[in-house]
């Protein structure tokens, strides 16, 4: 079986095959070979034995994402197949959108619809857990629509302000 994963933004391709003699499995991963087996403890715990060494694994799935915690480190994995579908579905490139970096509440709105904004101009301020973040215009343009209100709970992916791009002058 071949796996294609994104592991914290880095692609990992590896194969898992049954062990030719005896039980257990062999994984081939970037030129390295591991012999492993596992014991399921409950829906979120797994005891992994790799080349004779035990590693308790804690695992949680959220949609296409899998969170894995082991020996104090955490990893985010995403299956490539699922990822491809998701990418196609994704309507916007979020880096170019006005969206909060974390779940937060809108505490100030600094522009009105129809206003012209420069790149980097502050549009609104959100607050979560007593920390404030200012969301700025990713490019110059006209504020077409404000999709939120004061006090609203917003989350990453919500497009809070839609901006119609204009030519950037200079710089």
């Amino acid at each position: 079986m071949e796996y294609r994963l994104m592991l914290n933004e880095e692609e990992r391709i590896f194969t898992v095959t049954p062990r030719p003699a005896g039980e257990g499995k062999i994984a081939r991963l970037e030129g390295r070979e591991y012999c492993f087996r596992s014991l399921s403890i409950n829906a979120n715990e797994l005891l992994l034995e790799v080349d004779g060494r035990l590693v308790p694994i804690f695992i949680a799935t959220e949609g296409s994402k899998t969170h894995i915690s082991l020996r104090g480190e955490t990893y985010l994995l995403e299956d490539q197949a699922a990822l491809r579908v998701k990418r196609k579905e994704r309507p916007h490139d979020l880096a170019r959108q006005v969206t909060p970096p974390m779940p937060a509440a809108v505490i100030r709105i600094l522009v009105i619809e129809g206003a012209r904004v420069e790149r980097g101009e502050a549009l609104l301020v959100v607050s979560a857990m007593k920390m404030e973040s200012t969301l700025a215009a990713p490019y110059p343009g006209l504020v077409k629509k404000i999709n939120t209100t004061l006090g609203a709970q917003v989350k990453p992916g919500d497009i809070l302000v839609e901006i119609e791009p204009e030519e950037e002058n200079g710089d």
Partner: protein, 497 residues
Amino acid sequence: VMHMLKKILIANRGEIAVRIMRTCREMGILTLAVYSEADRGALHVQTADEAVFIGPAEPQESYLNIDRIIAAARLAGAEAIHPGYGFLSENAAFARRCEAEGIIFIGPPSGVIEALGDKTRARTMMQGGAVPIIPGMVNPEDDLEKLAVRAAEIGYPVLIKAAAGGGGKGMRVISAPEELAGAFAEASSEALRAFGDGAVYLEKYLARPRHIEIQILADRQGNMIHLGERECSIQRRHQKIIEETPSPAISPGLREEMGQAALNAARTAGYVNAGTVEFLLDEEGRFYFLEVNTRLQVEHPITEAITGLDLVREQINIACGLPLSYRQEDIRAQGHAIECRIYAEDPERSFLPSPGEIIYLKEPAGPGIRVDSGIYGGFAVPSAYDPILSKLIVHAADRRQAIDRMLRALNEYVVLGIKTSIPFLREVIGSEAFRRGATHTMLIDDLFSPWQPKREMADLACLAYAASREAPRKYQTDAPARGEHPSPWETIGNWSL
């Protein structure tokens, strides 16, 4: 020792509310929780004997709403209120209201909170009280030009601070005159939002000081003792994340000197109940008074670990008018204690808040471990409040063992679903600088900014993913008494005898 309290309202949430309730239960006192819309499923509600709903998630409408909290106490017949830390704990108006309503406020008298709450007024007061003060302004100032003059007099770098503040809110370092205007605007706005008061002042900025604080206890009879220091130098965004006691920088002589200075400060203020006198300690061993925190500190458990006292019990006893049952010479410290604050935040993205549902939780345990937790598996951490989830406290025979124990405990700590400070804390605690005790308030900025986890176990994570896909997902051991012999392990010859 008997006291007369039957029921205490805990005007707080999260781990500190749970922690206070545990002591109340041990003392045979009923506990009354208050909770907001966002905290219906919160642990502090499940820990209390009674709970009253007090309003929407916004702190101003619930945990900061004095009228509603007083009404809750009246409704349920609570005779006292413990404010915890944060929220109304250093709000003199709230303490005064309690006094007026005949409700015992578990903390100092409102006049003391008021005097010490204004940081500039506090420093002015201390100047006459045999307490060394850091060079700086004694009054807040909102005129930018006057601030610029004062900054030049003190000498850059200077620190702009909220007069009503604490916890790093409304605080900025200013290295050069051109940064003053921006920092003033930001600090003032943040202070206004956090404390309802935008007043700021300037003081000398010490580049790499240690943050040392002294815990004190004072009863109404005028007895006062100190419980030694806590070093709280390890901070991110001006907020403490690791604290320890004793400090590796404090000799017995210096401890005595700082302890006396703290008692002088407390005496000058007419202090009653538990309090903390904060100092900065420079590289030459000189210390300067910063402020007095007129409440239980987040990091109080490390003092409890080495002294064996229960500070919440002491607070309640003092509030009931009982005299201290310890003299200074009864206080003996044993071993070394460290606390790590477990925050819901993403250390890879400049500690951005990370609220959300905790899918799976496993807390460390065993020798020398204490977890003061405000969460549970399945709990949705609200975005409306402080990101603190829990505190992990270790106690061991010496500092080296305490560090090793903390690393072991952090490795046992599993929180899935939201980002936490755990991986970051592991690296700081395990760093050569921390092991050496070379700690100061800029350590994280100097050594861990920006920070990326090492992720040396990426291969294992891949195998774990594959194993989770290929192994059946159910619990597999079964009671042997039922006569079954399950084989959850695929037995491999050379791994078994």
